[in-house]
Symmetry: C2
Subunit: 764 residues, 2 copies
């Protein structure tokens, strides 16, 4: 049961109405502008199954956790993405009957459209109400990316027969989170006021004191005449009521301008005035002006970020859908914000930031947006270093060791399953990898002195304390961890975790050395601040050199963990399909003792460091692990697509790509109603650019080794690389790289280095 999305290169369109699809379409057609976002709820309301959701970036609630058995060190709360003021609402009554697609006797000419190129949501339909009257509605709205505290709605109701139409634009802050653990409300109303056509509501969170105010300014006309409003309000709610008695075929047209301001960006006592000012200024500019500026800004974003796929509209639509949601979730203007797994499209998964950001999303932002966007994602972690150190202290670590949380809003851990909270410590490696990846991509090392090295040292200190010496192995070991493959818990010597630990120790030392050489004053200051000395760095080296890695001589592969070969190794394709997905069919113990892999684990390390992995080694590992992988994480297929591409497993690469490209659009996992898999969308981008586009960073060097899936006739994308802008085209006729802007770029194709200046073109 899922909406039919018509194929279109730039749009999501839905051309039939089914009330059961509404809750899914609300996710798919969601809008965001980095500062706020919302599900594609109907302006006029909907009494059928739906999930009302408006979310303000960085505004969250520390909900009480729900846990059966407490463990020492568990967090006290679980941060929730917070449903905030409903500012899109416009009640509509026709001869007194409410317009509601759930109760309409007929809905025809339904068309819903998300114009991704311009960032506009449109909806038109004709509805026949229970009283027999029919109206035609044309609605369009957007959240401005030019002024990210502004939204605007154009909503036009046309009557088929003469009728009295009442339209009531409103703001409603009486909202709840559908996933509140104890059915609590999270907002305390702070005031409201209304005058005809205008009004505001203001609330603050019951904990943490985030203030949010929304203000509206409405212009309503009928038959070209402005209508007068009757304003009213109650706690958390304001409205302006307009009535028009219309002859057949005439319309009432609502323009609703909204300002939404929160206390991350304004003093609490200023949020109301600022919101009113925003609404006022938006109204003064007018809808067309606002919309055009917004659409132009979107078009400009696409200039850098677009991927074009020729010959396959469905794939084209899929990749643009992913890019669109990434761009509207995080715009990179604020280092306090990050990328929640569901972005602004749902409440699920609470806390905003996972290791997904560094592992799956950062590459997209580095390649497709201004360099400052990716850097702000790094700075976000530096801002939370203190909390990461506190988090490690709760687990018994000392001396400035940091363990970044698994799930967080403000740097504090929010997750409480011991096998993840305490043991899925590889996430620390991804934080360091993000720094490494940013530097190799941009060559911008400024972050090291600005906080990056502090982060790396704190992470290195964690690993140095987390290992222990095994007399039996005569090596350092890392016991009791959960790797990226969460279908194994509390294992010893997870290869990926050990690998990342060793690499973190190495990279922290290398960066320290770099800073010592290049910025000795900064380095000296840092040594003093961190009480770091060369003995400690040498100790890191000693651990790194003597860290144990489980290995099978028989299979010539690193083992996912100690004892992996004691399992029954039955390939996934021999499993009874009725047993899948195993996470819905099997008890946890059965999953754990099985060989099945949720997402790339050993292979994740080889993906991160493909320049350290020979192709034949990669092939052995891929051939050993991929057949045991059930890909039951949205983050799994993308990594395997890239690796399969490297190995020339073209069919496999494309097959896995299909599982990631339209995951949400085709609702593979029957969970789109909860929201989209926004962070997995970064993985889809990598599938295309790293996989089929063949982009690869070896050491410091950029490589291309593309191939075109046989279903496609062409693939092209822009790529920001160290200040330059490249345009890469893969066609049946070969690879074309055009230098569009910036300094010279050297890249390798087929073992040969090529250097392009602006605006040269390379073809092979």
């Amino acid at each position: 049961m899922k909406p039919t999305i018509d194929p279109h290169p730039w749009k999501l369109t839905e051309s039939s109405w089914n009330p059961e699809h509404q809750i899914l379409s609300e996710s798919l057609f969601a809008l965001g502008n980095g500062r706020m976002g919302q599900r594609a709820n109907n302006e006029e309301g909907f009494s059928g199954k739906h999930l009302q959701g408006t979310y303000i970036a960085g505004v969250y609630y520390p909900d009480k956790t729900k846990v059966g058995w407490w463990k020492n060190g568990y967090p006290e709360y679980f941060a929730k993405v917070l449903n905030a003021v409903n500012f899109i609402g416009i009640h509509v009554r026709v001869n007194g009957e409410a317009l509601d697609l759930a109760t309409a006797t007929q809905v025809s000419h339904f068309h819903r459209e998300l114009d991704m190129h311009q960032g506009l949501l449109r909806r038109t339909f004709t509805a026949t109400l229970a009283n027999g009257l029919s109206v035609r509605v044309e609605a369009e709205r957007f959240l401005s990316i030019v002024d990210d505290e502004v939204a605007a709605i154009s909503y036009k109701v046309t009557v088929e027969d003469a009728a009295t139409v009442e339209v009531v634009p409103y703001l409603d802050f009486n909202v709840v989170n559908s996933d509140a653990n104890w059915e609590e409300t999270f907002w305390a109303q702070q005031g409201h006021a209304s005058t005809p056509g205008q009004g505001h509501v203001h609330a603050k969170t019951k904990k943490l004191d985030f203030h949010v105010a929304a203000a509206m300014h409405c212009q309503v006309s009928a038959e070209g005449q402005a209508l007068n409003a009757h304003a009213s309000g109650r706690e958390g709610y304001v409205e302006s009521r307009y009535n028009a008695t219309l002859p057949a075929g005439q319309s009432v047209h609502v323009l609703k301008y909204i300002g939404v301001v929160n206390s991350l960006n304004a003093a609490p006592e200023q949020v109301v005035a600022r919101a009113e000012e925003q609404a006022q200024q938006a109204a003064a500019k007018g809808y067309e002006v606002l919309r055009n500026a917004h659409a132009d800004a979107w078009i400009a974003k696409w200039e850098l970020a677009d991927i074009r796929i020729d010959g396959d509209d469905s794939a084209q639509q899929g990749i643009r859908f992913n890019i669109f949601h990434l761009l509207q979730t995080f715009t990179g203007v604020d280092a306090r914000l990050n990328i929640g797994p569901k972005g602004f499209t749902g409440e699920k998964y609470g806390g905003s930031t996972y290791w997904d950001t560094e592992a799956y999303c950062l590459p997209f932002y580095m390649a497709s947006t201004d360099q400052s966007v990716a850097k702000n994602l790094l700075i976000y972690r530096y801002k939370q270093l203190g909390k990461a150190i506190e988090n490690a202290e709760k687990l018994g670590f000392t001396d400035g060791a940091a363990l970044y949380p698994m799930v967080t809003m403000n740097g504090e851990e929010c997750h409480n399953e011991w096998e993840i909270t305490f043991e899925e410590i590889h996430r620390n490696g991804a934080i360091a990898y993000g720094i490494y990846n940013y530097i190799r991509h941009t060559q911008d090392r400024s972050y090291l002195a600005e906080g990056g090295l502090e982060v790396l040292v704190a992470i290195a200190r964690f690993w140095a304390q987390r290992v222990n010496w095994s007399d039996a192995q005569e090596k350092f070991v890392i016991l009791g961890v959960t790797g990226p493959n969460e279908y194994e818990n509390n294992v010893n010597n997870n290869y990926y975790t050990n690998f990342m630990a060793a690499w973190c120790l190495e990279y922290a030392a290398e960066c320290a050395q770099w800073l010592a050489t290049e910025q000795p004053a900064d380095y000296a200051e840092l040594l003093a601040k961190l009480q770091l000395d060369s003995d400690e760095i040498e100790q890191w080296e000693a651990i790194r050199e003597n860290l144990y890695f489980p290995y099978s001589e028989e299979h010539q592969v690193f083992l996912q963990q100690d004892g992996f070969l004691d399992k029954e190794l039955i390939p996934v394709n021999e499993l009874d399909p009725a047993q899948r997905p195993i996470n819905q069919k099997w008890s946890w113990d059965r999953i754990l003792r099985s060989c099945y892999i949720k997402q790339a684990d050993t292979l994740q390390g080889m993906f991160f460091f493909e320049d350290r992995t020979d192709l034949d080694v990669l092939k052995r590992h891929f051939d050993f692990y991929e057949p045991l992988t059930v890909h039951e994480s949205s983050l799994s297929p993308c990594v395997h697509t890239v690796l399969a591409s490297r190995l020339g497993y073209k069919k496999k690469a494309y097959e896995l790509y299909l599982r990631t490209a339209r995951l949400d659009l085709d609702d593979y996992n029957h969970e789109v109603y909860q929201g989209l898999h926004v962070t997995a969308m970064g993985g889809t981008w990598m599938s295309v650019v790293y996989g089929f586009g063949g982009m690869k960073i070896v050491g410091e060097d950029l490589h291309f080794q593309p191939f075109l899936p046989e279903q496609w006739t062409g693939l092209s994308f822009h790529l920001r690389w160290r200040g330059a802008l490249l345009h890469v085209q893969v066609a049946e006729s070969g690879l074309t790289v055009a230098h569009k802007d910036g300094p010279d770029v050297t890249f390798h194709v087929g073992g040969m280095a090529h250097t392009l200046k602006c605006c040269e073109t390379f073809h092979a």
Copy 2:
């Protein structure tokens, strides 16, 4: 902060009043009669910190579980020991002022006494109320073990100065569980009625429809004259109000007879009438008669069950305290009942039955009570076999394999931590061991055909499916388990679990063979019922022979699990005491990757099967594991006491014994307020009889190898053994075994066999 319990061989006495001790004393002085039990709450009520608790055996509530992250196969509910009707209550007012030791301005001559020899709870005190008046109270009560649906209270109030005393005996069913997960109430009132001096209340549980009725019959007199009552009631509550205007030095005396009947033992529509009849008949007999019959029955119980320790009143009091609570928790008359970890002394740990029963409690009941008592504990498991098979099916097992639950009331699993619910599967071994232990102790094999072999086959089938073949080890392995040491989770090849699995397969086959030979008709019927054949039994044998056990050649010990030697092995005595108990100081991951052992694990197997373990092997394992053991389970010290005794580690044995003997009396773990560690009391009994008493079963043979702790001058106990009754005395002068009743008994001392007839005595 704990009550001072005066040393006394037969009594618990407390001779000073401190309101902060009340909640602890309520646990320590608790009463039970197998059918019901209650904390030592004050009859007159107490507004200070306390935990009101009356519990009816077998009557529980399926409370909603509280769990953060659901796993497939988790139970739908968590059974709660259910707080039931408060039937002890007697409000007292003196010139209108309520008697309440929390508000009294002075409490003197306080004496609380649990007479364990006669099963009586007494309390006397003088209290000065806020209005300046002083009263003397003498209270005594008991729950009859002659008629286990009857309780009686004698409560006498004497005024120092002339005053009007109002006494109000009542029944109150408006009770809650303090540990209700969602603050729900569990009882639905079904009716109440009262007449002067009499009344009843009747409620049923909101789920499962357990009905409980309590009735009272009161006789109240002042200065030798019966008083008239004023009866009243409201939902769930009835009372009779008596007023007496007393001259100085005179008393009002309440005799309250209570009948408590529940629908496990009567039709729901009969519980009220039966309760009224019980109260009525009790009143007709009179308090003295009832009490004397009850006290005589207790004295008779002690004839069999007592352990006498000479020279150490504190130790004497401790062991009798343990025996007393075991005897009042489970009397063995009803195979639907079992031994909850807290008995009738608190709500904590919900569900009633753990593997504690078979592993720690069964030996006491076999040796100290009628054989039928222990057998009923076995039958309990047979009654729940169907549910154990369903439980295994939920986890993917088939063909009649059974996994007994970790925690249960009715056979359904109630626990939901995956590492325990799904992985602490060794409990299945303890169920089988209970059968084996019963048979070797009693030589009664009747249970095998009556259900025991069905249980053993279902357990064997579980293990046969739970192993998997490891190509790497060329052995069968058991992956992903939690052993008795719960400070390790999801480990591979836990030695104890593997050992028990192998033994279960062996023992099921052996018992099948026995039944085939001795009761071929029963066996044939069973084969058909279970669809069992010789191929399946041979497969058990093949698995048993090829099961892997982790072993260290270097240390010459079986390893607790794979990889154990990768840990840092730092003895507990080198741990900073500030870090202990580690389960309160460390996060779970740190506990897991440490070497520290919560309770006997590898050693538990050697304890169960000491006849299969040579002393030098035992010594190596004890010397290896005990120093790593933190004994943070109440079930830990006892096993180690017995093993240390075997090894001649007398000091260690006594040191560990002290941690179990007075665990609750001295409130070592600061948790007595929640209730007592009733199942651990069976372990204490084993410490004394198996440890110092040196009782040991080798193959089929009874051995004694006693030693007397130097703090003691003598130890003696009775022992039921295969229909005979022995009295064993250990003194400085040596061992004396007196045959008191029944068939001849052969036992071994110092390698020599001795056979005694009734009523011979052996001395060595």
